[in-house]
């Protein structure tokens, strides 16, 4: 059952071959049995899930339910969920029971998709390995010595281990795509502004974007239909024409121009990963797509610009965590300054503190022009590169990450080497473009993800290309051996 697609689950529910309560119990059981191995959940919410499943069954019985009604899911613990602890992977919010629902949460609640729980993540989404969580690292289901990627590593691992058919994620510098790649699942980061950020705890506001993480492109298309939409509570939410992302999945990719940036295949890319990506390119060519060379000459500046801008925004976004109105408060503060500085020193982990401090520095008097403003200019250069490249191609293809999943603990002492794990994903966030990660093979039994990047609002095209690729490959259908019912090619 845990290997079925969203569409198959929907058919079972709609035809009443299985009830939502049964399905929900099935996944809750799997979480209980298996999650001890990978630690992908921070909170499991069986009561809420079953209560929602019962409501879903009532609607399913009435016969006019939405195709997604009754399908269980999980939220990354960054989405505020009314009445449920929403920790953002931090000690700072360990006691924070959200008093309201994020837009994404209420959208999916309205479809009666039972919430199984909240998934683990890098603290405040700052990280690429889910090791900075206050609740301990999540482990990669493919190799429990390896990281699942991050920051949405809990969602990626939970889907990969078949603990949930789908989970939400957020992507600020690659946090949906990189863990999807490391865990061998599919994930899409839509155009910036396509999915409301309301209730999604901010890391870097002008980069943050929510999205679905599931097994296949087709699953993602179904979920994107439910998640995309204008929200008046988010000033950066886009008013877009309603699109059915499943409608064009079966279109042919014949004649599609796929841009291959020379810059992607240079220094820093694991040669074995390059081989996997080149095989994927060959598959797409066989389907009739045309490969064209494109250039992204400012790509190499993106990581530096990102690590100025994102921490700058974060340093300000995280100022609200001060021990006054909610969240962690230090014991016996001796004065106001002590309350602030000790609550924050004790409540935040090391990487979050580093980024807050680096961000404060980049904005401080005397450095603003050299760092912040300069990085904003580079941001435009990086975006303009993409816009120019899309004059000669329809989508851009490359690796999601320079290597497969690295080992737990391998990079925790060296933040900068961790930052470089997002080398290929970061430029997309600078530009705000839609992009997705598609399973494309393995290196040393660890999954490798294919990166597809499109022009603004080209989500349907990306899903179409990925779906066509998944019609001729089965990387996305593979599951880790240790999980019963799994098989590996």
């Amino acid at each position: 059952m845990h290997n079925l697609s969203i569409k198959q689950l929907s058919t079972l529910l709609q035809s009443k071959k299985v009830s939502s309560v049964e399905l929900t119990r099935y996944f809750l059981d799997r979480i209980q049995t298996l999650d001890g191995e990978i630690n992908s959940f921070v909170t499991v919410t069986p009561e809420l899930a079953l209560q929602m499943a019962e409501a879903a069954d009532v609607k399913l019985a009435a016969g006019n339910a939405h195709p997604l009604t009754g399908i269980p899911m999980a939220h990354k613990d960054i989405f505020c969920t009314d009445g449920v602890k929403t920790s953002c992977g931090s000690k700072m919010l360990d006691n924070f029971v959200a008093p309201y629902d994020a837009h994404v949460v209420s959208q999916l609640k309205a479809l009666d998709m039972p919430i199984l729980g909240k998934t683990n993540m890098d603290e405040f989404a700052m990280g690429s390995s889910t090791e900075s969580s206050f609740y301990g690292a999540t482990k990669n289901p493919w190799n429990r010595q390896a990281v699942p990627g991050g920051s949405s590593g809990g969602s990626a691992a939970a889907v990969a281990a078949g603990l949930v058919p789908f989970a939400t994620g957020t992507d600020t510098g690659g946090s949906i795509r990189q863990p999807a790649a490391f865990c061998g699942i599919s994930g899409i980061k839509p155009t910036y502004g396509a999915i409301s950020r309301f209730g999604m705890i901010s890391y870097a506001s002008s980069f943050d974007q929510g999205g679905p993480m599931a097994r296949s492109a087709e699953d993602n298309a179904w979920l994107l239909n439910a998640m995309v939409g204008f929200d008046e509570r988010d000033s950066t939410s886009l008013k877009m024409d309603k699109v059915d992302y499943t409608a064009g999945l079966n279109d042919s990719v014949k004649g599609l121009r796929i841009g291959v940036p020379a810059e992607y295949f240079g220094e820093g890319l694991d040669p074995d990963v390059a081989v996997v990506i080149k095989q994927a390119m060959a598959e797409l060519e066989k389907l009739g797509a045309e490969l064209v060379e494109v250039h992204l000459p400012n790509q190499h500046l993106a990581v530096s610009a990102y690590y100025v801008l994102a921490p700058a925004e974060a340093s300000s976004n995280l100022s609200r965590f001060d021990g006054v109105r909610y969240g962690y408060r230090c014991e016996n503060p001796k004065d106001l300054n002590d309350l602030y500085t000790r609550s924050r020193a004790e409540g935040f982990g090391a990487e979050v503190k580093r980024r807050i401090m680096v961000g404060a520095y980049a904005l401080s008097a005397g450095y603003y022009d050299a760092y912040y403003l300069k990085a904003q200019k580079v941001r435009r250069l990086v975006r303009d590169d993409f816009i120019k490249a899309f004059e000669s191609c329809d989508v851009i293809l490359g690796p999601v990450a320079p290597t497969p999943a690295f080992n737990l603990g391998e990079k925790t002492d060296d933040p900068v080497s961790m930052y470089l794990a997002d080398l290929f994903t970061i430029p997309v966030n600078l530009a705000g473009l839609p992009a997705m990660s598609v399973p494309a093979g393995f290196v040393n039994q660890r999954p490798v993800g294919l990166h597809l990047v499109g022009p603004y609002f080209s989500e349907a095209k990306l899903l179409n290309v990925a779906h066509q690729y998944q019609q001729v490959t089965d990387w996305h259908k593979q599951t880790p051996e240790w999980i019963e019912g799994g098989r590996q090619a």
Partner: protein, 95 residues
């Protein structure tokens, strides 16, 4: 690039994060490593380039002037560390 302890102190103060004296050296080293990443930017030729604050060239949407919120004090203060008579309590503020 290497940060002086005095600079780390100033940054910690701006960030409102307590740094123990014993930690200064390590924090300084890690922050300095990150600042080395920034240094890449110096090489970029950004002459005549407008800074970009947002990915899309959208403009601010305006909300009608309507009261749409209700009083949820009880719910909001249930998660607060310290309240009294509807107020959030903090150590004495000296003005």
């Amino acid at each position: 690039m290497s940060l002086q302890v005095s600079e780390v102190k100033k940054i910690a103060q701006l960030a409102a994060i307590a740094v123990e004296p014993a930690e200064f050296e390590l924090v300084s080293k890690k922050l300095s490593n990150i600042l080395d990443v920034f240094a890449q930017l110096e090489k970029a030729d950004t002459g005549g380039i407008e800074p970009m604050a947002h990915p899309l060239d959208q403009t601010q949407r305006l909300r009608d002037d309507l009261v749409t919120e209700i009083n949820l004090r009880e719910k909001y203060q249930a998660i607060a560390p310290s309240t009294q008579k509807g107020l959030y309590l903090v150590p004495q503020v000296i003005e």
